[in-house]
Subunit: 133 residues, 4 copies
Amino acid sequence: MFTTTEWPRFTDCDGLGHVSNTILPVWFEEARTPLFKICNPSLKLETWNLILKRVEYELFHQIWHNQKVTIETELEQIGTTSMVVTQRAYQNDHLVASGRTVLIFFDYNTQKPSPIPGTVRGQLEPHIAEPTP
Amino acid sequence: MFTTTEWPRFTDCDGLGHVSNTILPVWFEEARTPLFKICNPSLKLETWNLILKRVEYELFHQIWHNQKVTIETELEQIGTTSMVVTQRAYQNDHLVASGRTVLIFFDYNTQKPSPIPGTVRGQLEPHIAEPTP
Amino acid sequence: MFTTTEWPRFTDCDGLGHVSNTILPVWFEEARTPLFKICNPSLKLETWNLILKRVEYELFHQIWHNQKVTIETELEQIGTTSMVVTQRAYQNDHLVASGRTVLIFFDYNTQKPSPIPGTVRGQLEPHIAEPTP
Amino acid sequence: MFTTTEWPRFTDCDGLGHVSNTILPVWFEEARTPLFKICNPSLKLETWNLILKRVEYELFHQIWHNQKVTIETELEQIGTTSMVVTQRAYQNDHLVASGRTVLIFFDYNTQKPSPIPGTVRGQLEPHIAEPTP
């Protein structure tokens, strides 16, 4: 499990005075950086090899600016060309949001999904979450 | 069904040269404006009466800047305090993304969900989608 | 003079309930699209030939969401490798903001400024503003 | 002088693969937080007492994602109802951008500028930059 932090920006709030729901996918994307590094160690755009297929997120509490947000990121499963990431965001010890994202290994030259290489798979597997009982 | 258009901004693209997936919730939020007007006719923030509970979206094609996006918005169901909105985004006649959002009627003074008023419900119901066969 | 319109997004507001000042550079960038088209007719990123050097903007009124913004864009001057753009944003017949941007013709391959081609210059010149008396 | 750090988000990049110029005002706003705390110690939106009047920024280098940005913030001058903030952003030991912002003390109830209170002024003054020789 990867644990990272986000600091809400003033502009992340909307007119209702809380953090806009639309920022959750941005934060969750940032929190997937450790996974991006496994897939594309240089993080260079020219060698980027993932594309996003599906996003789900749910909000449990309003989120406020100027208070740190902690995000936990782990894998739910790894397929042939895809992986499912689950994430949880906490602020002030409350679970404020959860997310689930499907990412596809993608060859931007051929514009097609590509199988996850064995070495990458080997580094991803330790981050698969234990099933909750 | 409501049909609205979005024009991708240059800043809606990310470093991969396509529109960032994280913009979909922003566009879908804009495209829900006709529903917001039914719930809160003045659209004023002081009388805002909705809060977002859950978002799902899926991407079918890369989306490019400088080409119009058309969004269709309809209701899937209306509950006691919540409604489920389904949306589809098209660019160049392709379905590029779909979304599903759960919104809750919310009293920002008491910080609690509140029942959908009958008159609002009456105006929302005609926008419930026909079940697809 | 080019006149374009922007529709403030819900997420363009910040926690103070007005449009965030940080959106002005985004809108002004969108409103420079007619100039971008003169410089790079396809608007394709691969042939993009401008880089931003300097931005100034001033705010005269708070700007509200859900009310159209009209932006006027014209040129102040054209140099050997650069041009200066001036812009004004109106909402509800009020001048709400003005902006001034310095753009440089830029060769992303050599990473160096490049002279404005004569044919581009010829198409830009008619958009230089008359000096105000 | 206040020194803070920003971590470019993936979505802060635009289609050209570098950080969008439009993010600079967002980062500079975040970097002014220590000044906001002097003016409004709780940082609560209900007691916010500043409004932005004018922004200038200049870019000296392209800015890349996934590399820390350090921002220096200091005051240029303090007037009766306003202050001028100067800022510099560094990435990889290069000065990548500078900024200058005029902020006005503002009473959101009366919608009018208000004089900077003496105690606030006393705490701001030590952050006025030495004139560069």
